[in-house]
């Protein structure tokens, strides 16, 4: 028996979906993920397209991001928008979509990781998870907290696991940290040691928003307050993980590109102005980032341009330059020039 309500076509309602969204199995799908992220975040964060690109790239490359910027420049908005894009399609576990930790000097590791609590009813200890149990964690002002807390956070970042009371708990596969630190106001901070900086895939130095973009931010502030692109499609956790796999397997890295990357690292180690060159780990981490960037530029192969544009982000915070050298960027540019030239010329060879 059918219920016929005049004027309403229940059979052909657009709200009835007969198929699941297709799983992400190829670069097309991965591109779709990228586009959805882009569109949503761009609605929420204006005038920061470059940083958005880098953030998405890091997310897809399974790396973490350290943002260095002045207060009020949109770091938190960016992180929240990123978290807002995600749909947790495994609601059963303890892991939530987005958490924010404000690091202060008096924070304790358990405030980050969670702690075991005695339940007087059951006479048992149970684990109360900390904010680190989330897909996307915003670690605000990470250099303000003590090294103890930093190291707890960094274990989570490196191993995707948390050890509380000598019991190790797994974090989710999609664990993405956006840490921020303030380049000014360094009094009473605990600068991150280079070993810990190495955990971050990118360190992004944000710059002030351009005038036009700033005007646009003011103009659209009202609209964004209520629904910042909330009608745009989101991305599920599984889709992100699938996209990562697709990118890693299907974006081609030519041997010459690998050579170029290694040569850049070698050059940084040889350069007299650099005390400590790029680590091998950074190269390993860089590969998926390069692939992700290639995809985001609609390429199925990594090119020299990827290396050129990501090198500063990847190696910038990893190099320790000799005293008196003012700019790491110029050192890196010198180190890249020759390998990149070789890679560029390769395209002209038979």
């Amino acid at each position: 028996m059918t219920m016929d309500t005049p004027g309403v076509d229940f059979e052909n309602s657009p709200h009835i979906t007969r198929t699941l969204a297709p799983p992400i199995t190829d670069l097309n799908g991965a591109w779709g993920v990228v586009e959805r992220f882009r569109n949503r975040i761009r609605m929420a964060v204006r005038g920061r397209d470059e940083v958005i690109e880098i953030a998405i790239c890091a997310l897809l490359a399974d790396g973490h991001v350290l943002l260095e910027d002045y207060p009020g420049s949109g770091k938190t908005t960016l992180a929240k928008a990123l978290g807002d894009c995600l749909v947790d399609d495994k609601p059963d576990d303890i892991i939530v979509t987005f958490r924010r930790i404000q690091f202060t000097p008096d924070l304790l590791p358990s405030d980050v990781t969670g702690t075991t609590i005695f339940d007087p009813n059951t006479h048992k200890f149970f684990f109360r998870s900390g904010p680190v149990f989330a897909h996307i964690v915003l670690a605000d002002e990470i250099n303000r907290t003590s090294p103890k807390v930093q190291s707890a956070m960094l274990e989570a970042m490196a191993e995707k696991q948390v050890t509380v009371d000598n019991r190790t708990r797994k974090l989710d596969e999609l664990f993405f940290v956006i840490a921020t630190q303030n380049p000014l106001d360094l009094a009473g901070t605990f600068p991150l040691p280079s070993a810990q900086l190495d955990r971050f895939l990118f360190k992004i130095k944000m710059t002030h928003v351009a005038r036009d973009a700033e005007l646009e931010i003011l103009a659209s502030a009202q609209a964004r307050k209520h629904n910042a692109g909330s009608d745009l499609p989101r991305v599920t956790r599984t889709e992100v993980c699938d996209a990562r796999r697709v990118i890693e397997t299907q974006v081609h890295v030519a041997p010459q590109v690998r050579e170029c990357l290694v040569d850049v690292a070698q050059n940084t180690r040889k350069d007299p102005r650099v005390l400590q060159g790029a680590s091998t780990r950074s190269l390993v981490l860089a590969m998926p980032a390069l692939q992700a960037r290639a995809l985001m530029n609609k390429r199925n192969y990594v090119s020299g341009e990827d290396i050129a544009s990501l090198s500063n982000l990847i190696f910038g915070h990893r190099l320790e330059v000799a005293p008196g050298v003012d700019s790491v960027d110029s050192v890196l540019r010198d180190c890249m020039r020759e390998p990149l030239e070789r890679l560029s010329r390769m395209a002209m060879q038979r």
Partner: protein, 837 residues
């Protein structure tokens, strides 16, 4: 900057190399203009400039500050040098020479220091300016050749002497030094920039350098210029020259054909051609040919020409004086007392009134200030030929008269070469290819056989040799790069002393009366006869009927009454000889010869004018070589003495208004002599490293290479354009993955022609983005080219239509955005594709 990436060691090495190159450049510049102190200061300045320039460029100083600092340092030093010599303080403290040295040190040190510092600093800051540095060095090297042009070797003597001693051409040694230093810097440039742009700049630079060097006639002796009216250099086959005895500056005849090199005052060749329209033109032609190597040095040649003209007369004058004196001594005695016995032996040296007569003064001091003058002299005394004596021969006149032609035919105004078959049969005609005897052989009485070899440096129309030439034989050219030809001559040269000629009859007994009359023909002007008679009437009666005594008397009268000067002009007169004799009495060899012959002929003495070269016997010195220089051209009167033949009886005016002539360069004489003789420079020394034949072959090859060079250049140019064309056309028919590459390359070529090229280390995408404005379609081509290479083992083929569309898009876009002249320039640029990589 790649420079910053260099290791410390490579910086040090490159600085050393650069400093060395700059030192060589500074030396090259300094050799010509300064003394040892200045050279030392230049060297230190160059080294300090390179080092400090490098340091300054690496520092954070602004480029403007570096330039300003360097310039102010220079200004300070310059002022200080002015102060050193301009005020009394320093000279009184250090002494004048100390102050001068100080000034030189400051000046040259500061000049070179500032120059090198600026060049280095700028080159370091702006890579393209490296070319400036290189150009400065090349220019410095070229100046060496400019100072050594025409093979005039002045400085550095230690180098050229060494080169001569081992048998090398010094110019080639200098060239090697210059090329070495330039190459050094160029290599450094290439190594450091690795850029193809540097390479294409180098190509241009090499071309420029070659051009500059080609403007300088570096190898070989100075090209002699015709500087007398003797017609010695007229090419064979020319009609006899109609030459007025006056110099004839008649009208503006200096003529187009004569050209600049002929324009000198002392040159009469040009004026002749105004009168008769043949001889001078020929002269000019020869000149031009000889000068050909000099090419652009037109004005130079002109200078040389005019000055040499003066000098030529000079040489002739002084030596004429000499010779005449020497020759005439006996007759002086004769006319005085008529006693043969009292005649002193002729000796030019004893009373060589002429300035050239004394022993040659020492070589001028090798001061730098002398350079210019020396060079001029060198040109004036450009060698024309080398005479090698196989037999020892000392002429009684103390001068070698090398006769080439004789002028015996009186044409109404003056004497010209004969057209008769039976007259002047002792004069050679042209260059026979086999041993030839002259139709008429001088008598053997009072003469001795002299074997000698003449190697011509300049082509002459007739062979010449010591007067009395009777046999001619061509011989192998000992050194074709130096000599145009060589021949052996046998002459029956006069040995009989002049005093023993008295009492002899004149004229040949076998001459027909008509021929005798031919040798007596002169102007109809009765004054000649009157003058001659009045002179003859003064000699003792006993000798008055002796023709030779008469001749000598007339000659002595001319010696006393005429004044030698090359500035004399009589050509405008109807009878130039009369104009001189009864005018200002000033003239030179041609006038004198005519005057004597006309006077002699008027009193019945058969005579003619001999033309050729006159070389003072002293110039031979102890060697057996005589160098004939362009200044040695001469005309002299001759008398036919029965039984002895034609005897030179030269006029030597006692008064000379010309400046003294230049002494001979003994070194050069010996050198040329050795060359003509094909002998090592010193018997003690081991023979030269290369056998002569091999050297000749090498030189011939070098000459052939020089000839082929323009063609090779053209060929290379065509090849480059071919490459350009190929790269432009190949996208039309390329297929598969290669299409992406060749199309992208063609697009880059288009951009490179418009002056846009990828920078070193710039990625393809970044470049595409940079030229977005100019050529938006390039992005696709670049992406495709890179995709084919980087997207895995079997990339998908690019879409040909898309690719070709983008390529034509790039062409269209570049055409729209760049100016037409820029594109045409790019199209013509043969190596634009080298900027593409």
């Amino acid at each position: 900057m790649t420079v910053e990436k260099q290791s410390r060691a490579s910086i040090v090495v490159s600085t050393i190399v650069r400093a060395t190159a700059m030192c060589l450049g500074a030396l090259a510049l300094g050799w010509g203009v300064t003394l040892t102190e200045g050279l030392g200061a230049s060297v230190f300045g160059a080294i300090a400039g390179v080092i400090l320039g490098e340091v300054a460029a690496r520092s954070r100083l602004k480029t403007g500050a570096i330039i300003g600092g360097a310039v102010s340092v220079f200004a300070l030093c310059w002022l200080a040098s002015k102060f050193a010599t301009g005020f009394e303080l320093l000279p009184s403290a250090l002494g004048p020479s100390g102050a001068l040295t100080m000034a030189v040190l400051l000046r040259f040190g500061a000049l070179i220091f500032t120059g090198t510092l600026l060049l280095r600093a700028l080159a370091h800051r702006r890579q393209n300016l490296v070319v400036l540095e290189l150009a400065a060095l090349s220019a410095a090297v070229v100046t060496v050749f400019a100072t050594h042009r025409d093979g005039v070797l002045v400085r550095p003597l230690w180098l050229s002497d060494w080169a001569w001693s081992v048998g090398l051409e010094p110019v080639q040694v200098l060239l090697a030094v210059g090329v070495g230093s330039v190459t050094m810097l160029a290599l450094l440039l290439i190594v450091q920039n690795r850029g193809s742009r540097a390479l294409s700049a180098l190509v241009a630079l090499v071309a420029l350098g070659l051009l500059a060097i080609m403007t300088v006639n570096a190898v070989g002796l100075p090209a002699p210029t015709a500087e007398n009216d003797l017609g010695l250099l007229t090419p064979p086959g020319e009609p006899p020259r109609q030459m007025p005895p006056g110099d004839g500056e008649s009208s503006g005849g200096q003529g187009d054909d004569a050209g600049e090199s002929d324009g000198g005052q002392g040159q009469d060749g040009g004026s002749d051609d105004g009168g008769e329209g043949d001889g001078g033109g020929a002269d000019g032609g020869t000149d031009g040919g000889a000068d050909g190597g000099g090419a652009e040095a037109g004005s130079d040649a002109g200078d040389g020409g005019s000055s040499s003209g003066n000098d030529a007369g000079d040489g002739g004058a002084s030596s004429g004086n000499d010779a005449g004196d020497g020759a005439m001594d006996p007759s002086t005695g004769a006319s005085d007392g008529g006693e043969d016995a009292s005649i002193p032996p002729p000796s030019a040296a004893s009373d060589g009134g002429g300035e050239g007569g004394g022993p040659p003064p020492p070589m001028p001091p090798s001061e730098d200030l002398e350079n210019e003058r020396q060079q001029q002299q060198q040109q004036r005394s450009a060698p024309m030929a080398v005479v090698l004596f196989d037999d020892d021969y000392n002429p009684p006149s103390q001068a070698y008269y090398l006769r080439q032609v004789a002028h015996s035919h009186f044409n109404g105004t003056r004497l010209v070469p004969t057209t008769r078959q039976d007259a002047d049969r002792d004069i050679p005609q042209g260059y026979p290819t086999e041993p030839t005897f002259m139709p008429e052989r001088p008598p053997t009485f009072g003469r001795t056989v002299v074997h000698h070899t003449v190697a011509l440096i300049t082509e002459h129309n007739n062979p010449f040799g010591i007067e009395g030439m009777y046999r001619f034989e061509p011989t192998r050219n000992p050194n074709p790069s130096r000599f145009t030809r060589a021949y052996k001559v046998q002459s029956l040269a006069q040995t009989i002393e002049y005093r023993r000629l008295f009492g002899r009859r004149v004229g040949h007994p076998q001459w027909t009366p008509e021929l005798r009359q031919y040798y007596l023909q002169g102007p109809t002007d009765p004054r000649y006869r009157q003058l001659a008679d009045s002179i003859v009437n003064r000699i003792p009666v006993a000798r008055r009927n002796d023709p030779f005594s008469r001749a000598v008397a007339i000659k002595l009268w001319l010696d006393d009454n005429l004044i030698y000067t090359t500035r004399a002009r009589h050509a405008t007169a109807a009878d130039p000889t009369a104009d001189m004799l009864w005018g200002n009495k000033r003239g030179y060899c041609v006038h004198f010869a005519h005057a004597s012959v006309f006077l002699w002929r008027s009193v019945g003495i058969p005579s003619r004018i001999g033309n050729g070269y006159h070389v003072d016997a002293q110039n031979r010195g102890s060697s057996s070589t005589v160098i004939v220089r362009s200044g040695d051209g001469h005309a002299w009167p001759e008398v036919f003495v029965e039984g002895v033949g034609w005897v030179v009886l030269d006029v030597a005016a006692k008064r000379n208004e010309d400046p003294p002539g230049q002494p001979q360069d003994e070194d050069e004489r010996d050198r040329l002599g050795q060359m003509a003789r094909e002998q090592p420079s010193d018997p003690q020394e081991p023979p030269r490293r290369q056998p002569q034949a091999q050297r000749n072959r090498a030189q011939e090859m070098a000459r052939a290479a020089a000839k082929a060079f323009p063609w090779l250049l053209l060929l290379g140019l065509l090849a480059l354009y071919g490459v350009k064309l190929w790269r432009r056309l190949v996208p039309a028919f390329a297929k598969g993955p290669a299409l992406a590459r060749v199309a992208y390359r063609a697009a880059l070529d288009v951009l490179a022609e418009a002056g846009v090229a990828r920078e070193y280390g710039e990625t393809r995408e970044a470049f595409s983005k940079r030229v977005q404005e100019t050529a938006p379609s390039l992005a696709l081509l670049g992406l495709e080219a890179e995709r084919v290479k980087l997207s895995g083992p079997s990339p998908a083929d690019p879409n040909p239509d898309e690719i070709r569309g983008a390529l034509s898009g790039v062409r269209r876009e570049v055409a729209a955005s760049k100016k037409r002249w820029r594109r045409i320039l790019g199209l013509l640029h043969p190596t634009s594709f080298l900027d593409v990589d």
